[in-house]
């Protein structure tokens, strides 16, 4: 066992929390198996945003095997869920909604009056995207979306949220210093621009409709979709032509 003054610490926090949470005994196989193994790893592999002990891969594999053995989950179904969010459901969905709204005024009107139905027209439906509201950015209004209490985000339209969206710095600051947050993302707003921050405290999910940049008048819907960024649909970025790919 590691001592309580282990300089890394995180592994113990997870171990203890998980063990306490599950009411497990201290030597749980799944809760913190591979104790002898993870000494090899605890001083490396720190990710920029989250120091992740690599023994978590082994621990979760043990948990998965138990659940599969008990017939509670199907391994191929797990693969399918991961694949769905890694390759199929992501911000390209939202970008197509935005591009359609830019080229089709009737669609834009539907999007701003009943976003759930307008987005469903393009086939983007599912959990965490049932009750949508679209927020239009313009020269004098800038909308920004946050979830101060957890990580609420429109999964079917933007995919799973990035780490920064779920992390304390963004969640704590977006409501008290939105202009400072925007500056950190490279967006400088004039003083006469109204900032509207939307704290996702319920099951309503928000999509920002960014401004269509000048110089895109002759672009096709497909080309427009290619320049719409995830950040612009959360409201921490603007769409610019420099995002265009050749």
């Amino acid at each position: 066992m590691t001592s309580s003054d282990d300089p890394v610490g995180r592994r113990d926090f997870l171990k203890n929390a998980a063990a306490a949470a599950a009411g497990m005994a201290a030597e749980s196989q799944v809760g913190h198996a591979h104790d002898s193994h993870d000494h090899d790893h605890e001083h490396g592999h720190e990710h920029d945003h989250q120091a992740v002990p690599s023994d978590l891969n082994l621990r979760v594999k043990a948990l998965e095997s138990l659940l599969v053995d008990k017939g509670l989950v199907d391994r191929a179904a797990l693969d399918a869920v991961v694949d769905m969010y890694e390759t199929k459901i992501g911000p390209r969905n939202g970008a197509r909604v935005v591009a359609r709204a830019w080229v089709d005024p009737a669609y834009k009107k539907r999007l701003l009056t009943d976003a759930s139905a307008a987005i469903a027209e393009l086939g983007y439906v599912g959990g965490q995207g049932e009750d949508m509201v679209a927020l239009e950015n313009g020269p004098k209004v800038h909308n920004l979306v946050v979830c101060t209490l957890c990580s609420c985000y429109p999964w079917p339209i933007l995919g799973l949220p990035p780490v920064w969206y779920k992390s304390a710095p963004y969640r704590s600051r977006a409501v008290i210093d939105p202009r400072g947050v925007l500056r950190e993302f490279g967006v400088e707003l004039a003083n006469d621009v109204e900032v509207r921050v939307w704290d996702s405290t319920a099951e309503v999910r928000y999509l920002v409709l960014p401004e269509r940049p000048a110089g895109t008048e002759h672009m096709t819907e497909e080309q427009l979709a290619a320049i719409v960024t995830r950040d612009s649909m959360v409201g921490v970025g603007k769409v610019s032509l420099s995002e265009a790919r050749p």
Binding site: K70, V73, E86, I89, G127, W164, V197, D199, E203
Partner: protein, 220 residues
């Protein structure tokens, strides 16, 4: 509950530091924890999204702040499978099904995943509940400090705002999280000036919109 998860307006959390070309999952285990959680949710039992959020909030504050997002999900998952009675602590210890245990049939197969992901599980309810407020009306968020789950952040409590829109009738998370019923009621977008929430040093052109249920509000 006045937990550390309720962090709107806090200082000292550091720079935001977005990652370029960030992967959806940084390590395989993150995707597995996400997928296991989604599949077990589809399996039913005594669980709902509000209680799931509450389980995360119940993590000790120091752990909550130190853990990565999916570490919190893993801690919750271990707790939930025991609470649901689908895995015993002894099985978690051994990593193997108890000898006498029966084998279940997975609720979701790979072929069912696209439909599961696209399924709408809206918290909107068609219940005929009258709204207590109308758009344009001035309201004050209640100054309450429940020790259990709530979606009324501390930074808005006691503050005055204006009803911006009526979203319709939705499940009330405060009761649902404790399995005390859905108590469906109107949910509004309430608009607060930044100065009402943060004082005179805030910009007069900044506004914060929160979604708030009837039970969070009084007439101002």
């Amino acid at each position: 509950m006045n937990g550390v998860h309720d962090m709107g307006g806090m200082h000292g959390m550091g720079p935001i530091d977005p990652e370029k070309n960030e992967p959806v999952f940084h390590e395989p285990w993150e995707g597995r924890v996400y997928a296991i959680t989604r599949l077990l949710r589809a399996g039913g039992g005594r669980q709902n999204i509000d209680n799931s959020r509450y389980q995360i909030e119940l993590l000790p504050p120091a752990d909550y702040l130190r853990m990565s997002y999916y570490e919190r999900w893993l801690a919750r998952l271990l707790k939930q499978i025991v609470a649901l009675g689908i895995v015993t602590p002894a099985e978690l210890e051994s990593g193997r099904p108890a000898p006498q245990s029966t084998t279940a049939t997975p609720a979701v197969t790979a072929a069912m995943v696209p439909a599961m992901v696209a399924r709408r599980g809206s918290a909107r309810r068609e219940a005929a509940v009258s709204p207590r407020f109308k758009v344009g009306q001035r309201v004050r968020a209640r100054n309450v400090n429940p020790t259990t789950h709530t979606r009324l952040p501390r930074y808005a409590r006691g503050k005055q705002g204006v009803i911006g829109r009526d979203h319709g009738v939705f499940v009330f998370p405060d009761t649902n999280a404790q399995f005390l019923g859905e108590k469906p009621q109107h949910l509004y977008s309430v608009r607060f000036t930044a100065r009402e929430l943060w004082g005179e040093q805030a910009s007069a052109r900044d506004f914060i919109h929160l979604d708030m249920w009837d039970d969070y509000l009084d007439r101002a």
